[in-house]
């Protein structure tokens, strides 16, 4: 097939796939603009009767201090993302470019944490957080989120492919180890760092189980806890759940779009290298 035609086909497939992927979210957004009778109406109507129907959103914010939840989630997710980026980059570099006794054990030990179901450590972890007096506090919520195993893995893989010659050349030039890390490695893996920050931010933003266990006060709740309060043991309030979900996705979108620019810029820079 001619390259140009292949190009068009590829673009079309990518676009079609994207639309399929986005459809459930579109459905979610559209449902958030409907009233309960509208949602249950048959035959199915795709679009809401009134596009300006913001009642569900009003109720979401009225029932609980959802604005405060957004703030809490933003704070927690930002701190987690930044600390993860820093510590994971350091560790990823250490594992990728250095050989020291026990490096395989330590690396797999860290990966191994991913293999532990969180449900089985939640009670012992809670008891420790309790002993430290950190229940219902920001540090308490952050405790299991400060460094990301995925981050260590990702940074290791990303740094691994940076040519070791660069590192050796810098060493010969007399640069200190941390200086090499700062000036040679980090710039080369900007896309990976941006990816890590975005992913970790989102992952922490959407965490439910740990905040559920460790948060008591309404003012310390995070967005996921707010969302789940529209479901209970009897039924699900789809109109409110979808509205809350839309509200909780918007800040993440902002982070993602901002981060995307950094990835692209990082790409341009690494294209200049070599």
């Amino acid at each position: 097939m001619k390259p140009a035609r292949l190009g068009w086909l590829t673009a079309a497939l990518v676009a079609a796939g994207a639309l399929c992927v986005v459809f459930p979210l579109f459905w979610m957004a559209v449902t958030s603009l409907k009233t309960v009778p509208e949602i249950q109406r048959l035959p199915l109507h795709v679009f809401p009767d009134r596009w300006s129907n913001l009642d569900n959103y009003r109720e979401v914010f009225q029932r609980q201090p959802f604005g405060r939840f957004l703030l809490n989630s933003a704070l927690v997710a930002s701190v987690a993302a930044l600390s993860s980026a820093v510590v994971s980059s350091l560790a990823g570099y250490g594992f990728a470019k250095f050989r020291f006794p026990g490096h395989a054990v330590l690396f797999f030990g860290i990966i191994g944490i991913l293999m532990v179901p969180f449900q089985s450590v939640v009670v012992p972890l809670y008891l420790w957080i309790n002993r430290l007096g950190l229940l219902d506090t920001y540090p308490g919520i952050l405790a299991p989120d400060l460094v990301s195993v995925f981050g260590v893995f990702l940074m290791r893989q990303a740094i691994e492919v940076v040519p070791s010659d660069y590192v050796d050349a810098a060493r010969i030039d007399g640069a200190g180890e941390f200086g090499i890390f700062w000036r040679v490695i980090l710039p080369a893996v900007k896309p990976a760092i941006a990816t890590l920050v975005i992913v970790k931010f989102m992952w922490t933003w959407n965490e439910l189980f740990w905040p559920l266990v460790v948060v008591n006060s309404p003012t310390m709740k995070v967005v996921t806890l707010g969302l789940v309060s529209f479901t209970n043991m009897y039924f699900i309030e789809y109109n409110l759940v979808t509205a809350a979900a839309v509200v909780s996705v918007l800040p993440i979108l902002a982070v993602f779009l901002a981060g995307q620019k950094w990835i692209v810029r990082g790409v341009v820079m690494s294209g200049l290298k070599g």
């Binding site: 309960v36 009778p37 249950q40 048959l42 029932r63 449900q119 939640v122 009670v123 809670y126 008891l127 309790n130 002993r131 007096g133 950190l134 229940l135 219902d136 506090t137 920001y138 540090p139 439910l208 189980f209 559920l212 266990v213 008591n216 006060s217 309404p218 003012t219 310390m220 806890l225 789940v228 309060s229 479901t231 209970n232 043991m233 009897y234 039924f235």
Partner: protein, 420 residues
């Protein structure tokens, strides 16, 4: 100098972030509940707590915990003691039976409750004869809701509901409408068939009890010959036939509440909170509430999830907690609190109040409460037992086996659980 100020400000901020929220505030009793769907009910504790604070100095703070995951949160907190609530809502046989987290109720208060609860609910909140908890929900036994319009359309009189299971089945058949492909487009009975098996068991038990069967032996120590008795097999066969033989119920209809609200199911067995839901979410459904139809026996007012308020043993404010419970343990508070949310009050005296008399389920509740108390299953392992049992029920509904072997297997499993 500037550096010192910055450090000082940072320290203040850090301390403010880390400080527990109970610094320099009036004394509080912390109350945990997972009844998110009843905000007015929960708020009542705080409102009355303010009155209580005037004589005792203790306010009440209500913390609503998501139902999804509440067991993990309760367990961790009660084990951790210092992060635990003072008062919490749950099932007595779990937290006071399986675990020892509850404080025994003072004798005078226990007497008050024993004397003022209807007979079917007296044992709720007790473990091995000792009272730990106060029941908060009276109407969590199921009753029959019927869609009067659909009844009329099928030629049935909505004022003369079926009273026996046979009559009920005949009515169901009349109320079921099949489409061109032979699949039901309208069913007589909205069946609960999805979700956790414990919920499935809960919905099946009225049928089991109506056939004279029981899930466990009276002393709750054995399952075989009870869970798989001839009566239970007959009950499960009847239940499965609703779906597979008579097609008056369908597993293709998602939630029974939605089916009823959409007028695609003519009857549903649900608890007393349901008519509040119908009024709000399906206001154009005309309905009536009746007692459940009887078989060999009458289902009676049974329930698998007896919610109670308990006081934590580890609470440093135990005395104050019990004082608060005493403060609201009277007929008026009981009536006010339950009326605010639209659910049935718990005190016998209140069952004849104007509020209760004005409810659509007044007559049916009276009728069902007159029936003998059905079997109770307040065992610490009730969740696991009900799950094992529920799996047999679901399998039968999905046509994955015959009732007898399914129940035999479930009974054996339940015995293993009991013996463990």
């Amino acid at each position: 100098m500037r550096g010192a100020w910055t450090i000082a400000m940072a320290a203040v901020v850090a301390v403010a972030l880390a400080a527990p929220s109970s610094w320099a505030q009036p004394k509080k009793l912390v109350f945990w509940t997972h009844w998110e769907q009843n905000p007015e009910f929960n708020k009542f504790y705080e409102t009355r707590g303010k009155d209580f604070a005037q004589k005792s100095g203790y306010e009440v703070q209500v913390v609503t915990v998501p139902y999804q995951g509440y067991e993990a949160k309760y367990l961790a907190a009660l084990m951790g003691k210092s992060g635990a609530p003072d008062i919490f809502m749950g099932m007595t046989h779990h937290w006071c039976g399986q675990y020892d987290f509850c404080d025994k109720m003072p004798a005078d208060l226990a007497k008050t409750w024993d004397e003022n609860l209807p007979k079917y609910i007296v044992n709720v909140g007790k473990w091995k004869g000792v009272r730990y908890g106060i029941p908060i929900e009276h109407g969590n036994f199921q009753q029959m809701y019927i869609d009067t319009d659909l009844f009329k359309k099928a030629g049935l009189d909505p004022d003369r509901p079926p009273k026996t299971l046979d009559a009920w089945l005949a009515a169901m058949k009349k109320l079921t409408v099949l489409d061109a492909k032979g699949e039901p487009s309208q069913v007589g009975f909205a069946l609960r068939h999805k979700g956790h098996p414990v919920g499935i068991t809960d919905k099946f038990l009225p049928f089991a009890h109506a056939f004279g069967a029981r899930m466990l032996s009276p002393n709750l120590e054995k399952a075989t010959t009870f869970a798989n008795s001839a009566e239970m097999v007959a009950a499960l066969q009847f239940y499965a036939d609703l779906v597979n033989k008579h097609k008056v119920a369908s597993i293709a209809f998602p939630t029974p509440e939605d089916a009823f609200g959409q007028k695609r199911a003519a009857t549903i067995f649900r608890e007393s909170w349901f008519f509040g839901w119908v009024k709000k979410n399906a206001p154009d459904v005309a309905f009536k509430v009746y007692a459940l139809p009887c078989g060999k026996a009458c289902p009676g007012a049974g329930n698998l999830f007896p919610w109670t308020n308990m006081v934590a043993k580890s609470s440093p404010s135990k005395q104050a907690a019990w004082d608060f419970m005493r403060f609201i343990s009277n007929a008026k508070d009981d009536l006010d609190q339950h009326q605010a949310q639209g659910i049935l009050p718990v005190w016998t005296a209140n069952l004849e109040s104007a509020y209760v008399k004005s409810r659509p389920d007044y007559q049916s509740t009276q009728e069902m409460l007159k029936q003998p108390v059905p079997p109770e299953y307040y065992h610490p392992k009730s969740n696991e037992l009900a799950t094992a049992f529920g799996e047999a029920v679901v399998a039968a509904l999905y046509g994955k086996g015959q009732p007898q072997p399914l129940l035999d297997e479930a009974a054996a499993k339940m015995d293993r659980i009991l013996k463990d």
